[in-house]
Symmetry: C2
């Protein structure tokens, strides 16, 4: 079968993935949702035409958006994920023995349903007794939230339902929802293809947080393959790699060395966020 899924990653760059079969397609209240099997990366989740996750590379994104901030906190106990309905971030958060509560705030319940059905490897953590699911708007939810140690913004691209998750007002609410050593992180797209978005996110976070940092990871099915994460902290950052329980965490991308070196930015990226 010579059928291809094609994502217009930007107006001028496309990714094509050969498809074995299309398993599911629905229009939810918020977006178009498609599940397919690809030859190169296995099962694929698409929202509004954009790759969200594949079995072949989901580990990179999910490990890096969670372990990096959690390792920088002295004792992460209460963690929230805004978006991330596939459950991959929750699965990784629950690997930290200090975590008592992992909250998922997903506006579109259909994403969670599709993940439970088609991506059991990714969504498994959602059934853990420390996982709490909230099907509601993340912006509203954060306004009521309190005493979180880490809040992770695992959003779709800054168009459609996720637009408000890239606003400085949202980062200000997150700051209020965090405790003393609180840390936030947001996915902030590609330094090659969306440099201005990274600047906007970092500037927005800096309006509320005294400490900001950018880090990178290689996610092949995302535009350009190089992905950025923008971090904001209320105070000094713990030196990660030293907490002994982190050393043997079962991961496929993250290591204690990557925890440090993901902050070593290429010079053109340094200049972007200077």
């Amino acid at each position: 079968m010579n059928i291809w899924f094609t994502e217009d990653q930007t107006d001028t760059v496309r990714l094509g993935l050969k498809v074995e079969s299309v398993l599911w397609k629905e229009t939810t209240a918020y977006q178009e949702l498609v599940v397919a099997n690809t030859d190169a990366y296995g099962r694929l989740l698409v929202l509004d035409g954009a790759v969200q996750t594949t079995i072949g590379d989901e580990f990179v994104y999910h490990e890096m958006i969670t372990h990096v901030p959690l390792a920088l906190h002295p004792h992460p106990r209460k963690v929230a994920v805004i978006g991330g309905g596939d459950g991959g971030a929750i699965r990784e958060i629950l690997k930290h023995p200090s975590v008592e509560e992992a909250h998922l705030i997903e506006i579109d319940e259909k994403v969670v349903e599709a993940s439970r059905r088609f991506f059991p490897e990714i969504s498994a953590g959602l059934d853990d007794e420390r996982a709490f699911l909230h099907y509601t708007d993340g912006i509203q939810w954060v306004r009521e939230a309190k005493d979180f140690d880490v809040i992770i913004v695992d959003s779709t691209d800054p168009v459609g339902p996720a637009e408000g998750l890239f606003a400085p007002e949202f980062y200000a609410s997150i700051k209020e929802a965090l405790g003393d050593h609180g840390i936030m992180v947001a996915q902030s797209e590609s330094p090659f293809l969306q440099p201005h978005l990274i600047q906007r996110v970092m500037t927005g976070i800096a309006q509320s947080f005294p400490v900001t940092r950018l880090y990178l990871a290689a996610v092949p099915t995302y535009p350009s393959g190089l992905w950025s994460f923008s971090l904001g902290a209320n105070g000094d950052l713990q030196d990660a790699a030293l907490r002994p329980e982190l050393r043997d965490m079962p991961t496929r991308y993250w290591t204690p060395q990557i925890q440090r070196s993901c902050f070593d930015l290429p010079k053109f990226v340094q200049e972007l966020v200077r």
Copy 2:
């Protein structure tokens, strides 16, 4: 104009780049050569259907294939590039004040001609008085070469003209062409899409060199966006970032920190080369 260049990066993954204009197309004695202007990455050089380089991201590959081995050598004086007819590696090598001779060994003179004509930013170094051009087969040339400090294999993919550049016998010849502190490096494709090739190259290099190491860089127009470089050394490796002349080298990707952290491999890549 809605015209797209599409590369079949593997049988099941494609990259599409919107094209403004096609500037040149020829069939050389060795391969099909195309030059086009893309919207996303500027000017593009294609050999046998595969992206070789673009103005938008060439700096990553050319800086990382050169500065990493040169920084690990105590005093690189005589350097060779096998392949790399665009001249980008030579341009970077010549940034090192210790370098007295930078040899380019390119089998296809037409690649150098096209680069001089369409990519002056990349090929400029070829006119330097320290640059020496040899239009000949790299495998033959290496057998006669002697006392090189660093030899860089800047090849196309391991099909067609470049096939012999991935053979253990070739690495053995390179070892003979290197001096005491000699270092070789070869581009070795993507850990996501060509893991077995990396294993083959690293095993091949290990047959001749006592020290081997793998490092990574983010090249968005290459398959998966994450690219690997396999390094072999005759002896202990110099600790890079310390040589003072390296600190202020004009680069856009490489930094003294990246010199160190590019060797911090994601866990799945560590396991690949263990």
